[in-house]
Amino acid sequence: MDLSFYLHGNSILHKMPTWSKFALLVVFSIAFYAIYDFKVLIAILALVILLVAYIKVPLKRLKAMFALPLFMVVLFSIFSFVVNDLNAGLLTFFRLSSLVILAACVTVTTKIEDFMAFIENLLLPLSFIPFIKPKTVSLTLSLTLRFIPEIFKLGMDIKEAQAARGLRSNPIALIVPLIVLTLKRADDISDALDARMLD
């Protein structure tokens, strides 16, 4: 389970400042919803697929990146078709597909570090609010990205240990030790943050 999707490269997207990529993403998201012409929407989808090829995303990575988001796009499109009509379903499919792929292109060309710096800068104007500390928010996001795979692995280890003892799969038996171990881990991480002067 890898939540760090960044891919090395020298594409234009890699070289663009993070803020400009996100600004473009916002502009495109709004623009896509102003387009009703299928020919244009299909052309846009083809272009964003070409963008993926240009960034040279490996096939294995493509599956990991797109499987769940595209599944969601299909679900939304079906919902839109059922609630409205075929035309609305297809519009939803083309718009969301292009958007999801474009967002993925931004993800694979932006280092987490740059993304965090962007979030920090974005929150800077709000730092006068006592509970909003841009550095803390960015550190929290980093910790989340860093430790989701670790907690997932911890869960697998607990499951394996229980299976080795002949216990059948039981959500409660998994969740309780997982919470206890995660809290213990949080305590250790807090010590490590203090030791690294990140308090």
């Binding site: 890898d2 280092k111 987490i112 980093s142 910790l143 203090d194 030791a195 002067m197 990140l198």
Partner: protein
């Protein structure tokens, strides 16, 4: 690296530590000026608490603890700036998901320009032949690689002293040897808490902890012999 020739590195004067109404350390009196200090003891003997006092992660309940001339109670930040800490489990120490980003993290609070930070990260990774791991996801690394990354993230801050809390416990023999030879090559003052007695053979001094007290304080050979006898009894 400038050492404090002739001066005390650690200066503990009647230090007591109480946690959760339990006395963990009793009247510690110890002064050191040596380059490498080993710390051994049974589980629960207080050696990890002692290590945490050296970085200001814990502060004495009473008594005075001075590290490199700074009082732990009064100048915790100064102590932390000068004393790096390497934990037993590097997974708890590495905060960012990508190797280079994690190593760079500590430098961000020091007003160092980005280009210089990047150069420092590359320099420290090259020093340990880890440059190929620069853009890797942390959770894809082996235990030994993680421990070396944790150490790199400490060394990049240029501490004067590094405290290791059982750094080889989770490692296989090859990685243990790699970490051991790295520790031996460090110019910084080293305090190493370990159960790996072989690691301490070339240290300058070894403290043996027993029930929250320093029960033996001697050369590695003498102290380890004392400790083994104690463990056998």
């Amino acid at each position: 690296m400038v050492r404090l020739e002739g001066n005390s590195v650690l200066e503990f004067d009647d230090v007591n530590l109480v946690r959760n109404d339990q006395k963990i350390l009793h009247n510690l009196n110890v002064t050191t000026s040596e380059h490498r200090i080993g710390v051994v003891g049974a589980n629960g003997s207080g050696k990890s608490s002692f290590a945490r006092l050296l970085n200001g992660l814990l502060v004495p309940t009473d008594g005075s603890a001075k590290i490199l001339g700074h009082d732990v109670n009064q100048s915790t930040k100064d102590v932390r700036r000068q004393v790096g800490f390497v934990f037993q489990n590097p997974d708890n120490q590495i905060v960012y998901p990508v190797v280079s980003e994690d190593i760079e993290l500590g430098l961000k609070g020091m007003d160092i320009p980005k280009a210089e930070r990047k150069a420092k990260v590359e320099e420290i990774l090259s020093r340990f032949n880890l440059l190929h791991l620069k853009d890797r996801s942390v959770h894809m690394l082996s235990g030994g690689e993680k421990q070396m990354i944790a150490l790199s993230s400490v060394l990049i801050m240029e501490p004067k002293m590094i405290v290791f809390d059982e750094p080889t416990t989770l490692l296989d023999l090859r990685n243990r040897n790699a970490v051991a030879s790295t520790i031996m090559a460090l110019e910084q003052y080293v305090v190493l808490v370990t159960h790996d007695l072989e690691l301490l053979s070339e240290f300058d001094r070894v403290l043996v902890f027993d029930e929250g007290r320093i029960a033996a304080d001697d050369s590695p050979k003498e102290a380890i012999t004392w400790y083994k006898r104690k463990m056998a009894s």
